[in-house]
Symmetry: C2
Subunit: 223 residues, 2 copies
């Protein structure tokens, strides 16, 4: 069997472990090769500064992990975690294959701070829902600064957030079952955002200044 | 909190149970209302006869269930299950909210029968992969009769299938992690197929003959 990387295969565990001595533990890890550094730079240059995901009381850590993986894949740089009824999710250890390491996480417990903060930066905020005000995902211009909000697996977006976010987005569904898994829904919406932004050339020109990119590359190489 | 149905929310458990007596057990269930029947008909009319998913040795039943749910959502009528190293997946009980009930499943253990059968019906068969022959998903015309093949979470598509399916499709990924969850990947590819087919008006005109549709509606009402 050939050893190609399947686009959907689970990441393999790292095969080599660096044996740590007392002195090596103190060293700051760096990108070991120029190739690695170039790869990090290429990913950083494609990061979409103004595309965000709000994960609001999504309980299953597998769902949250899958959502972070989709964020990484489609160039979302930061995720807003809003947790009011449980602790913030424990996303497991930071393996090099984990998207947790590559997607910034910001923690929130105050709806007005979360939503007000994004609005003050000019974001359109789209909550997933099926009310009369909901529009299908292709009807929204997702090349604008956009934050997509997904809520709990069972009860949806909580009322205190719903009250602050009138705009709703939905995935057209042709079937008998009126729902998709929350991480699947996040991936489909982020893919549509990717598709629109890719068509507009937004992955070809970096969203960050050269200085910011250099600093991000240095930082990521240390992770 | 309002009671809108979130597009991604987990299906709720049925609230009512029909109390079964010896006589009621014998009755064949029917669509109880004209509304229900009309809804079933609307879904059947949108089913895409020539869009298929091949699920090849995907082990986690949660992934298989999520894939069936995405099939139902985007109008895929039948799934080919190929299992050679474990039993066919146990997809739990047939709750009314389960996509298992609405997506036909065909079981295979012979690669040549599976692939040859689809080819003889004129299907293009696309395996997920990153080889030199792989093309991004927007480069494929998914309005053609198409079967998408996804393989095991860890080892990908098995060599005996890979040898029969040279055409590969991949989801462009902009991140550090080179993979997506298998059910997420299936959903994104099926969404792209939906998007192309919807733009071509393929959900507006039924793929089945009026007689077939009537028979399917009767059958589905009995489920």
């Amino acid at each position: 069997m050939d050893t190609k990387i399947e686009p959907w295969a689970e990441p393999r565990k790292a095969k080599k472990r660096v044996r740590r001595t007392r002195s090596s533990v103190q060293k700051i890890p760096q990108c070991r090769t120029d190739e690695r550094k170039a790869r990090v730079r290429r990913v950083v240059e494609r990061r979409q500064r103004d595309l965000r995901l709000i994960v609001a009381n999504v309980h299953d850590p597998h769902n949250v992990s899958a959502m972070l993986r989709s964020c990484d894949a489609f160039g979302v740089n930061a995720v807003d975690l809003y947790y009011t009824d449980t602790k913030f999710p424990n996303l497991g250890k930071k393996s090099s294959a984990s998207a947790k390491k590559w997607v910034e996480q910001r923690r929130h417990t105050e709806p007005s701070v979360l939503i007000g903060g994004l609005r003050s930066k000019g974001y359109q905020i789209l909550s997933t829902g099926f009310s009369e005000r909901a529009q299908p995902l292709t009807a929204w211009d997702l090349t604008k600064p956009t934050a997509i909000m997904l809520g709990n697996e069972h009860r949806g977006v909580d009322p205190e957030l719903d009250a602050l976010v009138p705009d709703q987005i939905f995935i057209p569904m042709m079937g008998m079952v009126q729902s998709l898994n929350v991480s699947v829904a996040a991936a489909v919406i982020l893919y549509e955002a990717f598709r629109q932004r890719d068509a507009a050339g937004m992955y070809d020109l970096p969203a960050y200044d050269p200085d910011e990119i250099d600093a991000m590359v240095e930082d990521w190489c240390r992770r």
